[in-house]
Symmetry: C2
Subunit: 216 residues, 2 copies
């Protein structure tokens, strides 16, 4: 019971800080996405595609979360946008405090869309708000159809599900329709896009979804 | 600082309980594996292959860890071995206590090898012992070459790395050699097997590794 109340206190403290973050983002007119997935599902590649597609139209900023290394921030920096890397040390998710610590390094007045790439993890990131408007998640088709029933919270909390790596479907036993059905069972309000971040197929729907939400 | 000391206390308490678990396992002559990976990397399929291969030779038992659902336990039960499902609720990893809670449902006197399938997560499970002899991890080639540098603890703590889904290599840009190099940078003592749990390719080395460690 003690362990549970400790966890609850941490979550409540995080909620407060995230509300403050969100108030600041609103004031700056920023649309903020908390992007989550398993390791290697394609978060950084989606970001690269998105930045390139919206170039000249939407000013994108990125906060990269990783347990260790700055590889992702380096990939994003090559696309000439604002980017900050957070290394969580041992922590398996980002929280409101970590995001607040990046504020001094960010110029929010020259940004329309902030995407926070969370630590690759299908469990804990869904529990910790960072100040986002919406949560967006990626599932790779290589992960199988049983993930919504096994990791329901992230599917439940997300507004958008991108089902990625559809180019691999011919070589897998994965049933794409079943991924849809299982996901919608957990969260009937999910907007789902089937995409291949490698070939670019299916990404137009996602870009349009973003455009209608980002005001400049 | 307060948060850190709470975490440390939890880890120390877990260490104690896991030592007790391990003492019992030793007494029963069991070899115990803590099996870890990202969601969908192939843990359950590896288990199914392993059980079938060792049938009549090694008596296998399985503890299945998932946030929710009993899908994996049902898959394993179909192979006619002892299996218990743990649902962690929100928790993103198994711990010593959860394993101890299964003891009443297990007949360790009729078991040679116990495999604990952890929650699909590349971060936290590596921090929490459950009483295992060794940690074994799976990385799917679809996850990319950067995972050892981004999630070093699990690679560091594991004795064996199974690089799975090699059947997909022709359709990916993944560099298998680089996965090896990056993994060995983090842990030079790793034993690495390249396998396809789907086709069965490469699994003989893994089965032999197991055979030499399980005494009956």
């Amino acid at each position: 019971m003690k362990k549970i109340s400790v966890v609850r206190n941490i979550l409540e403290a995080n909620e407060r800080i995230s509300e403050q973050n969100r108030a600041l983002f609103n004031e700056k007119g920023l649309f903020v996405i908390n992007l989550m997935s398993s390791p290697g599902a394609g978060k950084t590649t989606l970001l690269e595609r998105t930045i390139e597609n919206l170039k000249g139209e939407v000013r994108v900023g990125v906060i990269e979360g990783d347990v260790q290394s700055s590889r992702d921030a380096e990939r994003i920096a090559a696309h000439d946008v604002q980017v900050v890397q957070i290394n969580t040390g041992g922590a398996c998710h980002l929280d409101g405090n970590m995001i607040r610590d990046t504020f001094d390094s960010m110029d929010f007045d020259n940004m329309d869309l902030l995407i926070v790439e969370n630590v690759g993890n299908l469990v804990c990131p869904a529990e910790f708000k960072v100040g986002e408007d919406v949560k967006v998640m990626i599932l790779s088709v290589t992960e199988g159809e049983d993930k919504p029933s096994k990791y329901p919270l992230m599917f439940h909390e997300s507004s958008v599900l991108l089902v990625n790596k559809t180019d691999l479907l011919p070589y897998l036993d994965t049933d794409l329709e079943e991924i849809h059905t299982e996901s919608l069972k957990v969260n009937p309000e999910l907007t789902i896009f089937d995409v291949s971040c490698k070939t670019g197929e299916g990404l137009e729907g996602w870009f349009d979804w973003l455009r209608t939400r980002v005001s400049r």
